[in-house]
Amino acid sequence: VFGVIFRTTTQEGKMATAQQASKQVYLTRQGLQDVKGELEFLKTDKRLQLAKRLQDAREMDNTEENAEYDAAMTDQELVENRISELEKLIRQAKVIDHSTSAPSQIITIGSTVTLETKDGVEEFTIVGRTEANPAKKKISNESPLGSSLLGAKKGDTVSVSTQILSYQCKVLEIK
């Protein structure tokens, strides 16, 4: 399904990078901060809010059919699941930090790239899948476009080819 790289220069190396990338959880420094922030919020404020909501629901009605109590319990379960998920994410995270080093010559996770395509120009950052948000210009390293770009250099023309869609773009800039 995902991209096969046509540029022959570093084909094997890039495929290995893409495969390795899919096993690890890559986060930018900002991404890790966001995850930690969310975890902190859930473990403190959100847990307190839910505890109060549960208490209020108990006081409101002692019968077994207490819809608000059931809803609060469901929310509590969701929050606890999310807390576990985030804790696991932090344990597995590999932080990519481009802020302190010189711009990379090749595209890696964390690179902000400017591409030229047949239809125009666009800029986005390649991030790990948990941080990916194409609407905010953050493309997953596992997406067809992201995986095909890994390892490319400025000036390269990269072909993205999937089972049913082919696409070409030129790397104008890497930050």
């Binding site: 239809d119 899948r129 194409p134 609407a135 999937t162 049913i164 869609l165």
Partner: protein
């Protein structure tokens, strides 16, 4: 969906209102009353002729053009053309022609405004009421687009011009009332923002009106349709229609969720089951196709924002909607590929979008004789289908289409979108007419006629 006996062109949909407050429910009922009355005006607009009667039945197109040279109000979007006692053509503003009914509608809107706890929305309702009585429609559209996204929405007034087959100018009355579907609205916004992150190379930048940063989209659980929109049941629409307003104030697209569902169940799923071979059909789940259809509708409305050219309507006149709709539909396929490349949608979702895109090509073909408003879509769809067949993207066999070649489909639709956009951007009326004459043969639909006619019989629009 409920048709209301005794009230033509008015439909209500059974949608979830549990998330609304008591005052919002009361507002909703007032808006419903206002919309119902707007249906009566549309009925008057259509009276006397099969299609909308904006001009006297005995007038010719040339006579109208000549009269408009002396009085430009004859071709105003918001006037009815009638003959005076001496037989001379005169233009009567809508707000005077339908004054009686409009006064009652305005009252309902003001009453709704008085109940509403949302000050911004209440203000929009008052401005809409004033617009109906004075003809200040632009002001109402700007106010509607400018408020912060709010659960409730109403559009009411003379909006769409597609029923003016002669000049593509006169507006038909319509109204809709909707309740925002939060989750799907967020999804649609994600699609829009992802698509718009690409700075498109502009064809003829001086001609193009770019308002991507001011465009909005929402998905509504539609509460009611009235007037023209109840007649045509669009799955989505983008307002305003005036290019100048769009350039200055942006646009707002609305997707009508119950209509999307109804259209999928009653038309597109049966079309899918009719035009494709069994072998191909088996590889798609119904739920995936339904989602694919919704995404196709969203992408169509998003694509609209990308292809607006300043003088296209005056250059291409009544041919404009054919080219506009066709370009937008073909571009939507291209945008779907863009979403997939960025993993905004999965491959199976993309395939479902492509399949539903193919079923949409057969939309409306069988209503063409009864409805002038659908003619542009049918002709555009014929161009699309001819292009897909000639490119080898589709191969028609005795048991329907075999497995489409999606790769060729992307190439064919992308090339077609570019060509159509060029005609919109700089084509003359003659260019557009010549291309249409050569490429819009409806013969291509005929081999599917017997089966598809059955579908139309089962599920009349």
């Amino acid at each position: 969906v409920t048709n209301h006996k005794g009230v033509d062109y008015f439909l209500t949909y059974d949608v979830e209102t549990a998330g609304l407050t008591n005052s919002e429910l009361q507002v909703l009922e007032k808006l419903l009353d206002a919309a119902r009355l707007a249906a009566n005006i549309y009925k008057l607009q259509r009276s006397g002729k099969k299609d909308a009667s904006f001009y006297p039945a005995d007038a010719t197109r040339v006579e109208i053009e000549r009269a408009a040279e002396a009085d430009e109000e004859i071709l105003s979007p918001y006037t009815v053309v009638e003959r005076d006692e001496e037989g001379k053509l005169v233009a009567i503003p809508y707000h005077l022609k339908y004054k009686k009914t409009l006064e009652v509608i305005a009252e309902k809107l003001v009453e709704a405004a008085q109940i509403s706890n949302n000050n911004e929305f209440a203000q929009v309702l008052r401005i809409q009421a004033e617009a109906l009585l004075t003809g200040s429609y632009d002001k109402a559209q700007i106010a509607w687009m400018s408020i912060k996204p709010y659960k409730l929405s109403i559009v009411i007034g003379p909006m769409e011009r597609i029923e003016d087959e002669w000049f593509f100018v006169k507006r038909s009355y319509e109204a809709w009332v909707g309740i925002m579907n939060q989750g799907l609205t967020e999804r649609a916004i994600e699609f829009k923002d992802t698509v718009f992150s690409l700075h498109r190379e502009l064809l003829f930048p001086s001609e193009k009106v770019d308002f991507m940063d001011k465009s909005q989209i929402r998905v509504d659980d539609t509460y009611c349709f009235a007037g023209m929109i109840a007649n045509f049941k669009y799955t989505g629409t983008t307002l305003p229609n005036e290019i100048e307003l769009m350039g200055q104030f942006g646009s707002e697209a609305t997707i009508f969720l119950p209509v999307v569902k109804e259209s999928f169940n009653r038309r597109h799923l049966p079309i899918f089951e009719t035009i494709f071979s069994e072998y191909f059909r088996k590889s798609f789940k119904r739920s995936d196709l339904e989602r694919g259809y919704l995404y196709t509708v969203m992408l169509h409305e998003i694509a609209r924002v990308l292809v607006r050219y300043k003088f296209a309507t005056s250059r291409l006149r009544e041919l404009y909607p054919i080219y506009q709709e066709l370009t937008v539909e073909a571009l939507a396929v291209k945008l779907c590929g863009n979403l997939f490349l960025k993993s905004m949608i999965s491959q199976s979702e993309m395939e479902a979008v492509l399949v539903m895109f193919l079923t949409r090509i057969f939309d409306y073909y069988f209503e063409i004789k009864d409805s002038a408003g659908m003619r542009p879509y049918v002709l555009g769809n014929a161009i699309l289908l001819n292009s897909l067949l000639s490119s080898g993207a589709l191969i028609s066999g005795p048991k329907g289409f075999s497995w489409p070649d999606f790769t060729k489909m992307f190439i064919a639709t992308s090339n077609l979108a570019d060509l159509m956009e060029r005609i919109l951007a700089e084509g003359t009326y003659t260019d557009a007419k010549d291309y249409l004459d050569k490429n819009s043969t409806l013969k291509v639909f005929k081999s599917f006629s017997p089966e598809l006619k059955e579908i139309v019989k089962i599920s009349p629009n």
